[in-house]
Symmetry: C2
Subunit: 403 residues, 2 copies
């Protein structure tokens, strides 16, 4: 398997690093700062611009070589992709203001492989290019277990979540959760001394639920909070599943304590499995609807656990291996072949052919290249254009679909 340290491997000119640092460090030594101040502003502008999510960010970086170069090309690409007018581009002033406000709140915006960026989170295809990190940063570099579950948990569920969090914390694990009511709250509360991480769905200044401000203050003393959202962003319903990928992505595994059918915790479990994380579930009576989701998870292959030792036994072998990075997806594979692609302007016929092949069902880049009889570079550019025009969705494994 190719080891990849996103996005450093693709930016040797811009990021101040030496080759040895590209190896992910499993020890607790904090990695050095890697972005310059100016780069950090460019990165922030790019990720805060319209229609640029983590995957598009990476695609643009791989394509144009720097955030600065990508920013310069955004309006033109969006127009070619069919946007009536280009999406809003985050200004240097706005990015500077966000950085300043973050600093005032004690939030650092860190890039993958920088100190405070959870090492396992950095391995995700859709890892946030900049993560807002607040509190005791070293907590984020330690092995983490996520504990999630129902907001309206039973007394037994809350008690068990607390026992488990305490047991794992005593064993040296950091507990990650979502700061919600119920199981999340119990998991944080019983692991505060050992360090716990609240993963937020909104900005660092928009804590949800508001009554957990006090809990967060306690967490930050020896733990941390992380968010990929800008300050001022109040979390909406759709932000929670997006946030959940960070909870599982940062952890070795996810324990689902209590979950009804079709609950948010099950989405976290599904994402965790897709990310290659261990999924653990706490069993319950078939007559208890709050255990329906966890029992289902076990039926589907999750590991049944009844105590902290069960979790530790399962993650121990994973911890002993170096962190495995994923195969580069389709986007990256085309990159090496084209060293100077940004002057490429597909002709109208090619662009129409590629767009016609796209639909709501995800299709792979490989298939598009083959079916459109176009060069990989051309397909890539057309997809970027569509993306920036808000017409394309990127999925895992190099799959794309039209919105």
């Amino acid at each position: 398997m190719t080891r990849r340290s996103y996005p450093v491997a693709h930016l040797p000119r811009l990021i101040h690093t030496d080759p040895g640092e590209n190896d992910v460090d499993n020890s607790n030594t904090p990695p050095a700062t890697k972005l310059t101040d100016a780069e950090r502003v460019d990165w922030l502008r790019l990720i805060r611009s319209d229609n640029v999510g983590p995957r598009t960010f990476r695609s643009l970086m791989n394509h144009f070589g720097s955030a600065k170069a990508a920013l310069a090309r955004l309006p033109e690409l969006a127009r070619r992709g069919g946007a009536a007018r280009g999406g809003r581009i985050c200004s240097e002033d706005d990015a500077g203001a966000e950085l300043a406000a973050s600093t005032r709140l004690g939030v650092s915006l860190v890039a993958p492989d920088e100190a405070g960026y959870p090492p396992r989170l950095a391995t995700l295809d859709d890892a946030p290019p900049l993560l807002g990190v607040r509190g005791a940063m070293e907590t984020l570099m330690r092995p983490m277990i996520a504990i999630v579950g129902s907001r309206n948990a039973s007394g037994a569920g809350l008690k068990f979540a607390g026992q488990l969090a305490h047991g794992l914390s005593e064993a040296g694990f950091v507990i990650a959760s979502g700061l919600a009511r119920g199981i999340d709250q119990a998991a944080h509360r019983f692991s505060i001394d050992g360090g716990t991480v609240a993963v937020l769905a909104g900005g660092h200044d928009r804590i949800y639920p508001p009554e957990h401000e006090d809990l967060l203050a306690q967490i930050l003393a020896s733990g941390a909070a992380i968010s990929e959202m800008p300050l001022g962003h109040a979390p909406r319903a759709r932000d929670f599943p997006r946030r959940n990928r960070l909870i599982s992505g940062a952890a070795l595994g996810v324990v689902v304590v209590e979950a009804a059918h079709r609950s948010g915790s099950l989405i976290t479990a599904r994402i965790a499995a897709e990310q290659g994380r261990e999924v653990f579930a706490v069993p319950g009576s078939p007559l208890d609807p709050r255990a329906a989701g966890t029992n289902d998870l076990i039926k589907q292959g999750a590991t049944l656990i009844t105590e902290a030792a069960d979790v530790i036994d399962a993650v121990q072998p994973i911890m002993e291996r170096p962190i495995e990075l994923r195969e580069p997806d389709g986007n990256d594979r085309f990159n090496d072949r084209f060293k100077d692609p940004w002057d490429l302007d597909p002709d109208t016929g090619e662009r129409a052919r590629i767009v016609a092949l796209l639909g709501p069902a995800p299709v792979s880049l490989d298939d598009l290249v083959r079916m459109a009889a176009a060069s990989p570079a051309t397909v890539r550019v057309v997809l970027l254009e569509l993306e920036l025009a808000g017409r394309l969705e990127r999925h895992g494994g190099g799959m794309v679909s039209l919105i």
Copy 2:
């Protein structure tokens, strides 16, 4: 795999059958009676004699070719095995009296492959040579699921056991259980209409617990009760594990509903796994000690179930296959080689050599033959002698140990 229809394959002269009937019948057509009245008396005398259990019975049948011939040799063999005086041999009168009393109570004593003998039970190495069967015999020929669990079950456990039994019963399965208080009682009660089977640890006239006489009467209307014990035998503690092998052995699989650590139901689950039966367990909260055993079973590989459909999905593929008989064990493998072994009288030196090799740890017949440098027939005879003297225990897979 060799298909074997115990013990018919070894008794072609004595049992009135044609070769086609040796195939186990997966349909509901009741097999014909196969033992003559005289043979049934001999079989009953042999299995009711001291130191003759199901494995010894089979060993004797394989060795001497008939129960009658075995009975004639018992005293001599036991004496040679070191018994001060031979064990009690069941007289023809006693056997006749038991048969008559059984008939009066509506109990038939049936041999493997006869009508009323559960087809899957007949495949066990230690299948009872004669099974006391009472009630609606055809129930015993249908596919069975065993449901077992705690005597002091929770309300939820009892409710779930009832729901599950009802659901499986509606789907056409016969429910087997042990007529105990708690889970067993609920399982029987909610499957009475569809047919349920009480597997007894004592004789048919010694119902335990006594207050379940009424429940048994209801069961017998459209279901059945089975026992391998003689009439008048009041069940002792050690009879229950022995009985449990019949519960699991007759069934496609065993569902454990609620079980604490180290409970009897876990013994049934272990035996079921050894018998190659499916083991299902109902999950429960880690904080509920009555679920500790079932959660452990799931950790060890039992299938978590929360509804009847889970069980049905798992056993459907097994039902579609013909019933697979086990490999003959060590006892049988030696049989074909010796056509006239009963005049064999090992000399004192050989006997001493074989006995010296035996101890409390089980050893295989193969190893004994090799280490004693004796013929398989000689080893077999010595073991039979020891067995009848009450000095030998037979385990599965042709293993033996000294008591």
